[in-house]
């Protein structure tokens, strides 16, 4: 279980904003700033952090939907960034994606059947039409949908059903890695659990590997083997699920955990809450030194001067804090 499927090395993605034809970029958004982590075959890595911290961008860089500014993305040892277009196109069936918004990720002009059959056809996985229809049925069954759903359009399905279609589409090409970008955030609470269970079940059945992006720490804890915490384009902490939730080393992780309300009034009454000061800074001009220092409850002068390195604090538990 220890062989590495995906390795992200020093990934950087800057977006130029403003400017244009003659002006040149006015500023850069440092959406992802030197991020490295690995995903092993068969495991689920959770990626958490607040809005705008670069989770989606990381995912899109891995999927090659965005051209990274620098860094490497090694999928089974091949660097996706330098791969020629045609080889990349072929390789793409091995890495799939599930999006947050189950509606807008399905083409409203195609039936569910067409959506599921399309990758099978394009990648010549099943070139023959009737066999393809059978495979579509199989995929539908796999995600708990009925065969008549194949003829429906996305808007005729409920949110949970649409997300199942999204999952089925990801499964169609028999990928080994699936990037799940907040697959349950848009769903009703009562449906979330259905989808999470489905994802888990498929993982164990098909030996899938997930990079699970979410901002809900409870969900991430439930589904992930290891967790990466991001803050403002950088990794704050990486650890095993248990280690991270039980003994977080980064003050940001701690604040995050304490901010999650627990559905139990008694417990809530007794819990201590570290409420952070200030607002999330803009990635357009991130703070100097440790990007978290303006909000950090334990910040010291050197935090504003020196950028903390992501270092191994405990075995398999790395944090980017001078004071950890």
């Amino acid at each position: 279980m220890s062989d590495v499927l995906l390795e992200v090395r020093n990934l950087v993605k800057h977006f130029p904003v403003g400017g244009g034809m003659f002006g040149g970029p006015v500023a850069t958004v440092r959406a992802v700033d030197d991020v490295s982590f690995t995903v092993r075959r068969g495991e689920t890595v959770g990626l958490v952090g607040e809005s705008g911290c670069g989770k989606t961008t990381t995912g899109r860089c891995i999927l090659q939907l965005e051209r990274p500014t620098s860094g490497q993305i090694l999928f089974e040892g091949t660097d996706l960034i330098t791969l020629p277009a045609e080889e990349l196109r072929v390789l793409r069936r091995r890495i799939q994606v599930i999006f947050q918004d189950p509606f807008s990720s399905l083409n409203p002009r195609m039936t569910i059947g067409q959506i599921l059959a399309e990758p099978l056809k394009v990648h010549r996985i099943i070139p023959e039409k009737t066999a393809r229809a059978e495979k579509v049925q199989e995929l539908l069954a796999q995600v708990g949908l009925l065969s008549q759903h194949a003829d429906r359009y996305p808007h005729q399905l409920s949110g949970g059903q649409r997300q199942r279609v999204g999952i089925a589409r990801a499964l169609a090409t028999e990928p080994s890695l699936i990037i799940c970008d907040e697959p349950v955030s848009a769903l009703d609470v009562s449906i979330q659990a259905q989808i999470i269970n489905l994802l888990e079940e498929l993982q164990s059945r098909l030996g899938l590997t997930y990079l699970f992006i979410a901002h809900d720490l409870s969900v991430v804890r439930h589904i992930s083997d290891r967790v990466v915490v991001m803050y403002l384009g950088k990794i704050a902490e990486v650890a095993d699920r248990t280690a991270l939730y039980e003994s977080p080393v980064h003050p940001y992780t701690r604040a995050l955990l304490s901010a999650v309300p627990i559905p139990d009034p008694k417990l809530e009454a007794s819990r201590e809450h570290t409420v952070l000061r200030g607002e999330v800074p803009s990635p357009l001009n991130p703070p100097s030194g440790c990007v978290f220092h303006p909000r950090c409850p334990i910040a010291e002068p050197r935090c504003s001067a020196e950028i903390p390195l992501l270092r191994e604090i405990h075995p398999e538990h790395r944090g980017a804090c001078h004071l950890a």
């Binding site: 607040e50 609470v189 009562s190 449906i191 888990e200 439930h222 901010a259 559905p263 009034p265 952070l276």
Partner: protein, 331 residues
């Protein structure tokens, strides 16, 4: 404690292309002075419409308040003239909306938006209104408030905009604030900041508050009493402690079970509520939750269960099989 706001058998519906949506269907709840009441439920169950009905801001002509009473300080708001209602809005009852990004007018300055309520309801002149606005911004924790008055909403971050909404709501010292998902659009750490602020202010100023949310955790942390809605109806009503400790409706129970919790050890599997939320235009004749319910009996499909008490007068549930549920939980 006396009821500040009492909603009785409120019915609000929308006529749409696909039929009549009974968004709020005979709902009763109340808010007492100084307390915080929560309204929880899934998306589309009628929470926002309930609050908007209180403000009489339901989008006309599609939406209509069909029946019921909304007693505020003893007066039925539904019987007031438009002009009288206008004096209630903002002055007596203020509302905070879910989307801090779109709920502020992008082309008017922060100062303008803060002071206009004061000018209208408190008949304040420009100068004192400005002073009060600065005070309010300071109160909600926006640094350098005087300079901020001339800025526009887009200069503010999401959290600051929501604070600005809170300041606007507090401006005329209302006795009740309706907060419709005030933090859903915000990050966890900012959400905590805002909720702490709201709680703190309501305690300090003695303002009663209705918090609308779908996050059971938020309710547990901040509410005194809770109303759980499902498909336009209240299905359970209790104090926060009772609801979480002793849920009496299968939906509440299911909800509590289906979410992973940080305080408990990780379970191998979550226990979801199976099935889909109902379509409000085609509600089943009986209990709307019946098709998804594990405790379903025949009667559930025939008659709508009324809200009733299993003992404590403060804890009501709308389930025919509540006793079986309670017993099983106890067992």
């Amino acid at each position: 404690m006396a009821s500040l706001l009492e909603v009785r058998n409120l019915q609000t519906s929308f006529s749409t292309a696909s039929g009549v949506v009974r968004a709020v269907d005979g709902v009763s709840w109340d808010v007492r002075e100084g307390e915080t009441v929560a309204l929880v439920g899934e998306s589309g169950c009628g929470k926002s419409v309930s609050a908007l009905s209180v403000m009489r801001l339901v989008a006309e002509p599609a939406g209509r308040i069909e029946g019921g009473q909304i007693l505020f300080k003893g007066r039925d708001l539904l019987l007031l003239s438009d002009e009288e209602m206008r004096h209630v809005r903002g002055r007596e009852i203020a509302m905070i909306f879910q989307e801090p990004m779109t709920s502020l007018n992008p082309v008017l300055t922060i100062g303008r938006q803060l002071t206009e309520g004061l000018e209208i309801h408190m008949k304040m002149a420009r100068e004192p209104a400005q002073a009060r606005a600065i005070e309010l911004l300071g109160m909600v924790g926006i640094p350098d408030p005087a300079r901020r008055l001339g800025q526009y909403p887009h200069h503010f971050s999401g959290g600051m905009r929501q604070r600005m909404m809170i300041a606007m709501a507090l401006a005329c010292n209302p006795s009740l604030i309706l907060a419709d998902e005030p933090t859903t659009a915000l990050d966890v750490t900012i959400q905590a900041q805002i909720l702490e602020l709201l709680k703190d202010l309501s305690r300090r100023l003695g303002v009663a508050m209705l918090i609308i949310t779908h996050n059971l955790g938020v309710v547990a942390r901040y509410a005194d009493r809770v109303n759980v809605m499902y498909a336009g109806r209240i299905i359970e009503q209790a104090s926060a402690g009772d609801l979480y400790g002793d849920p009496q409706h299968p939906y509440t129970l299911g909800l509590l079970r289906s979410v992973p919790r940080l305080d408990e050890p990780r379970r191998a599997h979550l226990a979801p509520i199976e099935g889909q939320p109902p379509d409000l235009t085609r509600l089943p004749p009986g209990c709307a939750f019946a098709p998804r319910c594990a405790f379903r009996v025949e009667r559930c499909a025939e008659a709508v269960p009324p809200l009733r008490s299993l003992g404590s007068a403060e804890h009501l549930t709308a389930c025919w099989e509540a006793e079986r549920l309670v017993n099983r939980a106890a067992a």
